[in-house]
Symmetry: C2
Subunit: 467 residues, 2 copies
């Protein structure tokens, strides 16, 4: 939890005020210091306490970003990039104060190269906006974290989502970035070509750096062709282990599922209530298949056999777009559905990811732990990647509960790491996971710190995150 550690320690209030005055001079009301603005920009979907920036700067172009970063760098004032504020680990908090760079007005689609299946967008474009824009091209952008996040934020946290099992994560679909670095210059990290071996892979260094190395000002993305046919389906299981085993067999057999999502009984109950569904309140798999008419039918049949072998209910599938949309909208609302189980409590989303062969073990051992501790924590996950989340509901004003939850999340991380997995599959480290990733990163942290020091010697970019 690290709640205790999250204290605001303004770095240099006088320097911050000096920068704000000069930004206002230059940018007028693109700069806001009112508490409402500041509070909105520290608010993240997280249990961590909000830490407000000293001001919010609404950048409208790369030039704006460059000018403002130069000013912040000159005064060593923190720069906190902000997209939509949907990150889960306190990535947009301002523990040392500073200037929040709100990039939501940089929301232009700069180019679409349909014939090359790529596009270039500004960082404030959200994934849903991009897909609306692409509607008539026959292409779509597949990466879909729960929230309608900005593409800059998604690149910064190396986000993934339900389609990752088929289409990869942000590290796989970002072809190139432009980034404003600590000297206020804009660099380009790659090309539109599908592959390159021209020097260090800066693209993938900035993807997942959580804004600690620079501000992403544009993103060149791979797109996918809209499949000829999309079919979705659901299957219920008696136990979570049975459901996991069906996932493991599906992946090991190489069935190219586009989505294979796991919900435990409690999460199904939450989604039923929140999204007006009526699934049996037992563990559930939601699937989607993409391909030709024949391919989709074949994959569905193959999965139905696996489900039946693992004790699942008859696999019900549909190519009806409306039903599918309802299903996946419910899936994307799982976080809020979970929170609604106990609106008075706070929610902490865990994010372990293990090699697929260990998924059932990891989920079973974790469920036993949940039971032993009497924790309220629905499970939902991108099971095809070996990645699952528990939304741990707890009272953050109760120190005993905090201690219990902290111990639980530590055990969970250690369990995943011991299985060859990671403490964080897609949410990033931010502030919240600093406590648990140390064991995983080990001595490599020295290399990460050296890179941070080299590219941002005054630690202006998103201080207090990752390290």
């Amino acid at each position: 939890m690290a709640i205790e550690d999250v204290q605001t320690r303004p770095r240099d209030p006088q320097a911050a005020q000096e920068v704000i005055a000069r930004l206002k001079e230059r940018f007028g009301d693109k700069v806001q210091t009112g508490e409402a603005f500041r509070a909105q920009h520290a608010h993240t979907t997280t249990y961590l306490p909000a830490q407000l920036p000293d001001a919010v700067f609404f950048a409208e172009s790369s030039e704006d970003v460059k000018t403002a970063v130069k000013l912040c760098a000159e005064h060593k004032v923190p720069v906190i990039p902000f997209g939509t504020g949907s990150s889960l680990e306190g990535q947009v908090n301002a523990p040392e104060g500073g200037i929040c760079f709100d990039l939501s007005r940089m929301n232009r689609v700069l180019e679409v190269n349909a014939e090359d299946l790529d596009c270039r967008v500004e960082p404030g474009v959200t994934r849903e906006d991009l897909n609306d824009y692409l509607r008539d091209t026959g292409l779509f952008f597949p990466i879909d974290p729960g929230a309608n996040a900005s593409l800059g934020g998604m690149a910064a946290t190396r986000a993934s989502g339900t389609n990752a099992v088929r289409y990869g994560t942000m590290k796989d679909v970002v072809l190139a970035l432009t980034v404003v670095t600590a000297d206020g210059e804009e660099i380009t990290t790659g090309r539109r070509a599908r592959k390159s071996s021209a020097g260090y892979d800066l693209t993938r260094l900035f993807v997942g750096a959580e804004g600690t190395l620079g501000i992403i000002t544009s993103i060149t993305l791979k797109l996918a062709g809209i499949p000829e046919k999309i079919a979705g389906g659901v299957s219920s299981f008696e136990t979570l282990e049975d459901a996991c085993n069906a996932v493991i067999m599906t992946i090991q057999m190489g069935i190219p599922v586009a989505r294979i999502e796991l919900l435990d009984a409690l999460q199904v109950k939450a989604c039923n209530a929140y999204s007006g569904l009526d699934f049996p309140e037992t563990p559930l798999l939601l699937l989607e298949f993409h391909g030709s008419e024949e391919a989709v039918a074949m994959q569905s049949a193959q999965f139905a056999e696996i489900a039946s072998e693992c004790g699942g209910s008859d696999f019900v599938w549909t190519a009806n777009a409306e039903e599918r949309t309802k299903l996946w909208k419910a899936r994307h609302s799982a976080y809020w559905a979970g929170r609604a189980l106990a609106p008075e409590l706070d929610g902490l989303s865990t994010d372990v990811c293990v090699p697929i062969s260990r998924l059932a073990d990891c989920v079973r051992e974790t469920q036993e732990d949940v039971k032993r501790e009497g924790i309220l924590a629905p499970v939902v996950g991108h099971a095809g990647d070996g990645n699952f989340h528990l939304l741990v509901l707890f009272d953050k004003d109760n120190p005993e509960e905090i201690a219990r939850v902290e111990a639980f999340t530590t055990r969970l991380a250690e369990r995943a790491i011991a299985m060859g997995g990671t403490a964080t599959g897609e949410h990033g480290v931010g502030q919240g996971k600093k406590r648990v990733v140390g064991q995983e990163i080990g001595k490599a942290v020295a290399a990460m710190r050296a890179i941070k020091q080299a590219l941002d010697p005054d630690n202006i970019f998103n201080p207090g995150k990752i390290f």
Copy 2:
């Protein structure tokens, strides 16, 4: 060419001799200083002059590497990692002298996790050795540069090959590395889990760093399931442009070809002579399809239609394993077949890669340039990636010819870069491409240099490469 620039400037001969003496004391005849050994280890498949190391150290374990790197670091003596010596841009040359770390004895497959489709190998395992080892598992490792390269070398140069259009490049299949860094410590850069967002992506920073940031001591790799059916085929075209257009349509239609390789008439002639084939000596596409019986048949039929639309000959396909093997062996020997066209000349392999929509333009303009200049240069390429090579045959003792070839390769790089492409799709920068990648990398070179300086402050790892 940069031949002029490639001069040997020993860094500190006394320090090198001191290190050699101490290495010999510790490792006995794992350390060799005879000229034959040193010459073998500077010999690369390149037009660049050989630059011999002061000694060759045959490391047999991570511990060996750590001990020897510590010693070199202490005396600031260069460390040049060596796998099989098949790199094309002088990556294993020793322009400042130093110790060549030959990793070919680190050739153990450390683990295969068939149920997770991954394995971990030492850096000296070659791609063919790994596939032999995997033979009974139903899995294979798909990345296949022309040479039977070592997996450490392939990771270091971000290699790809004929299967990349379907299976990706080394950046996509490396899950994690262990690397010995400049302080002689071994770090682990990732986990076996399919995705992670735990800090900076060090895995992809070391992949493609060409040994300039550390020595790779093990590689965790994704594997692929051997497809139910593999079918190959060939189609001849009247012009190179027609062949390129067939490739463009194939990729744009999303046909999941496993391989789609382009040979121009001169390369076909060379392969016919070198590998005992009898293809018509006109531009040729070689294809391979992986999938179920039905999928392979459908893809083949779809491609046949495209080929016919683009004026190709009847698409001839076969599922006969022996015929396929002969075909792809010939393809993998294309470099040597090209060299055999004029054994008295040297060969320089270009490596541009452009967005697929520009492939035909780039090939056509380049062919016109070749004709104008009267250069002998067969074309072969991973056309599905937009990547193609010319093997420019020239006399490196003829300064006029060198100047003409230099000007030609500069124009080629500029042409590709102007089309959104790269000067090097898969061969890396090494020494040979330093001259042409500057324009492409631009201001980002400052970030690369800062990282190099941060992780290797005394510039011991593979000096004179990339920068």
